[in-house]
Structures are given as structure tokens and as C-alpha cells.
């Protein structure tokens, strides 16, 4: 795995700079913090939406700042939490007096730092609420759902909350829908090969030539089981069974799917997986609404993919397809 980079220590700052320079109508840098991205044009009359997390997952997290999506994002180093100071700046930049909803993945450092930042801005009079996305069914049992890590499902929460916030509803209302969305999401992934951290220069984990790991986290956190590489259909069936064991769907339920590549796995393979997921779902009467297949939450050039199921209701659906302006989301 070869990287097109300059000084590894500049990796994050240069990629942020490139993002802003490439899409100046979508993103801009916060005046007070070089690791905080905000929309090119601050919105003035709505609940602010903030996220934050480590770098190396583009389009997550920064990519989803934009009209109809998030307002600001605090950017940590590769696979590392943003600092409390950065998060506090992101919150201040998102606030316009209507309060701020923080949406983050369930990672120890991120959670702590957001908590601390929320306490700091509270002293300054900024009202916040927090949604901790926990969709990865591999990382804890259903009884401890709140302990699960947040992975690709996060983007559904960004989009639904983002769409709803744009309508001018209150912080409490956005929180409620975001929370409902979070509870309606299940994700399970599989890792095939590691990525290389620019500063470390070595792979994040080791895995045999013919091995895969079901449920491995996007930083290489241990998964459910390490297995021999099997056919796309067998693998997909296994993933579907585990998801639907966790998440019973009724005949009249309607869902959206996200088939997400961790980076290197190409679209062709995602569609082979997507096809099989849909075949599995079509066995019962669950309706499929709109699907998302692509690179939505990555670990740089890691190979692997995840399957996310979002159960819809009218309000979630409406906001999922509400207008947005973001290079990584097609309506």
C-alpha cells in the first residue's frame, strides 16, 4: 500500500485544506480553530448540528458538513479524538442561539471530549444535546446497545437530523428524531485488509491472506469472528442473519440500506453484496425504499464493507431525501 502524501505530520491539515479549497461553496475553516470546519455560509435560524471525530474516515466526519446536513465538525488527527477545545469551537461556530445537537460515534475519547466541551459552552450560555450513535451490532449485545460503536449508520443520523433541523424545529424536536433514527439503525461490517496510518507507516492490524474478520471496527478493533474468506453470497447471508437476529423487521416495515466500502473494496463488489442483501430482504414483505451504495465511512484504503439497515417512518423518510448540498450525498 503506497500513499500519495507529503510529510505524514501534515496529512490531516493538508487534506482539510484541500477539501475546503476544492469545495469553497460548501466548506470553510472556522476563524478561531484550524481543525474546525463549518459551512461556507452559516445558517442563522436553526438548531446547529455538530459532529467530530478522528481523521482518516472521509467522507466521515467533515464531509457531511453542508446545507441540509451538519453545520460544523471538529477534526482530530488520524483515528484520534478531536480535542475538547476544538469541539467547543465547533459548537460555538454552529450555534446561532437555537441550541446545538452534537452527533458523534460512540468512542471513549470522543464521548468524553464532547461531554467536557458541552460543559464548557454551557457556561457560555450555549444549550446542547448529544446523540451518541451506536449502530455496530458486533461491538456489544442488544441488551447493552448503548455500548455499541458508531459506524456507517452515523451518516443516516446526520442526514435525517440535518434535514429536520433545516425546517426550523426546536433542539428538543431534532434530538427526538435523531434519537429515534439512531435506535432504528443496525450495521455489521467485515474487514479484509488493513490500512496504513500515515505517521506510523505500518498496517493497523494483521490478517492472513485468506482471512476476513466479521465485525472488526473501523480502526481495527476486534470483531466477532475471524474466518476464512468465503463467497460474497455466503458472507452476505451471514451478515444479514446476524443483523436480522438483532433487528426483527415486520412485514409492513420499510427500510433503506447502506452498503458501504471501507475504502479499497470496489463498487462492483458492493453491488454483488447489495444484490444479495436485497434478495434476502425480499424473502419477507419488508419494503425497500432508497439505497446507498458507495464509500460513505471509510478507513482510508482498508478493504472491507459494511451493511447498514435503517428502519423508516414518515418523518425519517422525508428528511432522508430532503435537499442537501454536499459532494458526498446524492438526493
Amino acid at each position: 500500500m503506497k500513499k500519495i502524501i507529503n510529510e505524514p505530520s501534515n496529512f490531516v491539515d493538508e487534506s482539510i485544506d484541500g477539501l475546503i479549497k476544492s469545495h469553497p461553496n460548501v466548506y470553510s475553516l472556522a476563524e478561531d480553530n484550524s481543525r474546525v470546519i463549518k459551512r461556507a455560509k452559516k445558517s442563522s435560524n436553526k438548531v446547529g448540528l455538530v459532529t467530530g471525530g478522528g481523521s482518516g474516515h472521509l467522507p466521515v466526519f467533515t464531509g457531511y458538513v453542508g446545507e441540509g446536513l451538519l453545520d460544523t465538525c471538529a477534526i482530530g488527527s488520524v483515528f484520534a479524538s478531536p480535542s475538547v477545545d476544538q469541539i467547543a469551537s465547533a459548537i460555538r461556530n454552529a450555534d446561532n442561539g437555537n441550541g446545538v445537537l452534537c452527533i458523534l460515534g460512540n468512542y471513549g475519547g470522543d464521548v468524553m471530549n464532547f461531554e467536557m466541551a458541552c460543559e464548557i459552552v454551557k457556561d457560555e450560555g450555549v444549550n446542547t444535546k448529544t446523540i451518541i450513535v451506536a449502530d455496530d451490532i458486533a461491538s456489544a449485545r442488544l441488551e447493552e446497545k448503548e455500548k455499541r460503536r458508531g459506524i456507517a449508520g452515523m451518516i443516516f443520523v446526520f442526514k435525517v437530523a440535518g434535514g429536520f433541523a433545516e425546517t426550523g424545529v426546536s433542539l428538543e424536536e431534532v434530538f427526538k428524531l435523531a434519537n429515534e433514527t439512531n435506535n432504528n439503525i443496525r450495521t455489521l461490517g467485515v474487514a479484509l485488509s488493513p490500512c496504513i496510518l500515515p505517521e506510523a507507516g505500518k498496517p493497523t492490524f494483521e490478517i492472513g491472506k485468506d482471512e476476513i474478520e466479521i465485525g472488526m471496527g473501523i480502526h481495527g478493533e476486534p470483531g466477532i469472528s475471524r474466518e476464512k474468506l468465503k463467497s460474497a453470497n455466503d458472507l452476505t447471508d451471514d451478515i444479514c442473519n446476524r443483523i436480522f437476529d438483532d433487528f426483527k423487521l415486520g412485514d409492513n416495515d420499510e427500510i433503506s440500506l447502506m452498503i458501504n466500502s471501507l475504502g479499497a473494496t470496489p463498487l462492483e463488489e458492493l453491488y454483488i453484496v447489495s444484490r444479495r442483501v436485497i434478495e434476502n430482504i425480499n424473502k419477507n414483505k419488508t419494503k425497500i425504499y432508497k439505497n446507498y451504495v458507495g464509500r460513505y465511512a471509510t478507513s482510508m484504503e482498508m478493504a472491507g464493507m459494511s451493511v447498514t439497515v435503517l428502519k423508516l417512518n414518515e418523518n425519517i423518510k422525508k428528511n432522508l431525501i430532503a435537499p442537501s448540498n454536499c459532494p458526498f450525498w446524492t438526493n
Partner: protein, 207 residues
């Protein structure tokens, strides 16, 4: 060093003056131990612990001029300063602790031995709550826990911190780290000190 021993061997309380003195000493020590802390963290983490501690203490020392007699206010300044430059767990846990300590001290000008015990208990509780840690997970919480036990038996600060932090490291030799980034290394963490506990032990050498 004599001055410190005098301070802690005899005065047995914390006020603006000796707090500043301790913070200066800690900053000096963090420079000395910078590489050591980073590499201890690097073995089972992201190798930024030296950075976190140095930057945090540097920022605190930059703000010492704004210290008042009110120890609550001083701890609040420390909390804000520490967190400003840190992105890592250690930094946030310490900053959270300093903030809660500030709240508990209110307008106190002098912290006596009982207050000092409260300070460490507040830190321990904060870390357990925010870090979702338990005693026995092999983290800085375990060092603080031993500090509290020893403080309840003993008032000789000049020996206490140094010895207790070393003893804490000893107690966890062969045990696995159960939280934070290091837990992902499983078995490997048995033979190694928790970097945070190790750092507390080296920092305690200023006393």
C-alpha cells in the same frame, strides 16, 4: 528539592503559593520525561502521552499570573488551560477532574489535609464516571485510589505520592489493561505498565 520537602513535610496544606510551586515543578518534570512518556504510550497506544502532559502543564503555567487566592478559581483556570492543548483521554480526564475539584472547593483559600483528600476523591470519581472505568482496570484511577488510601493513613506528602504511585505500578504487574486505547493490545499489556500510571509515578518524583 529541599524547598519542596520542607513545603510538603511541614505545611500540609495547599494554597496559591505552593500550588504555583508544584505546577512549576510538574512542568519542569514533564519536559524531562517527555520522550519517556511518549514511548511508554507508544508501546500500547498512540504515543502522545508526553505531548499531552507537557502541553497541558505548559498552558497551565502560562496562566499562573491570573491565579487568585481563591483555590476554586485556580483549579478552574487549570482545567480550562489543560484541556486547551490536549486531544487525548488523559488530558480530558484530568481537565474534568480539575473542573469538578474547582466546584467542590468553592471559595476556599487554603486546602487542609481533609480538603486534599476530597481533591483526590473528586478526581477519582470523575475519572471513573467520565472514563467509564472501575478500580482494577489498570489506569490512573488505580494510582489515585492508592493515593487516597495512603492519605487517609499518613500526612507525610513528601514520601506518600512517590511511594504510593510506585506501589500502584507494582500491584498491576502481570495484569491486563481493561480500558482506553491500550485494551486493544490484550495480553501484551500484562507485561507493561499502564502509561498513565507510569506518568503519575514519574511526576510524583517532584515531591
Amino acid at each position: 528539592m529541599l524547598q519542596v520537602i520542607v513545603l510538603f513535610g511541614q505545611i500540609k496544606m495547599l494554597n496559591k503559593k505552593n500550588f504555583i510551586f508544584i505546577l512549576e515543578k510538574l512542568f519542569e518534570q514533564s519536559k524531562v520525561c517527555y520522550d519517556e512518556f511518549n514511548s511508554a504510550d507508544g508501546k500500547i497506544g498512540d504515543g502522545d502521552l508526553g505531548i499531552t502532559i507537557l502541553h497541558g502543564l505548559e498552558e497551565i503555567n502560562k496562566n499562573i499570573d491570573s491565579f487568585s487566592e481563591d483555590m476554586g478559581e485556580n483549579f478552574k483556570i487549570c482545567s480550562k488551560a489543560f484541556v486547551k492543548r490536549s486531544g487525548s483521554s488523559f488530558g480530558t480526564l484530568i481537565a474534568f477532574s480539575l473542573m469538578n475539584i474547582a466546584k467542590n472547593l468553592n471559595n476556599k483559600k487554603e486546602c487542609n489535609h481533609e480538603d486534599i483528600i476530597v481533591i483526590f476523591k473528586t478526581a477519582l470519581n470523575t475519572i471513573m464516571e467520565r472514563g467509564k472505568t472501575n478500580i482494577g482496570d489498570k489506569t490512573i484511577a488505580d494510582t489515585l485510589n492508592l493515593f487516597i488510601q495512603k492519605l487517609e493513613e499518613n500526612k507525610n506528602y513528601s514520601e506518600l505520592f512517590k511511594l504510593a504511585s510506585k506501589e500502584a505500578l507494582q500491584n498491576f504487574k502481570g495484569k491486563q489493561i481493561l480500558v482506553g486505547r491500550a485494551r486493544m493490545f490484550n495480553e501484551k499489556t500484562k507485561e507493561l505498565d499502564d502509561p498513565g500510571m507510569y506518568a503519575l509515578s514519574k511526576l510524583s518524583e517532584i515531591f
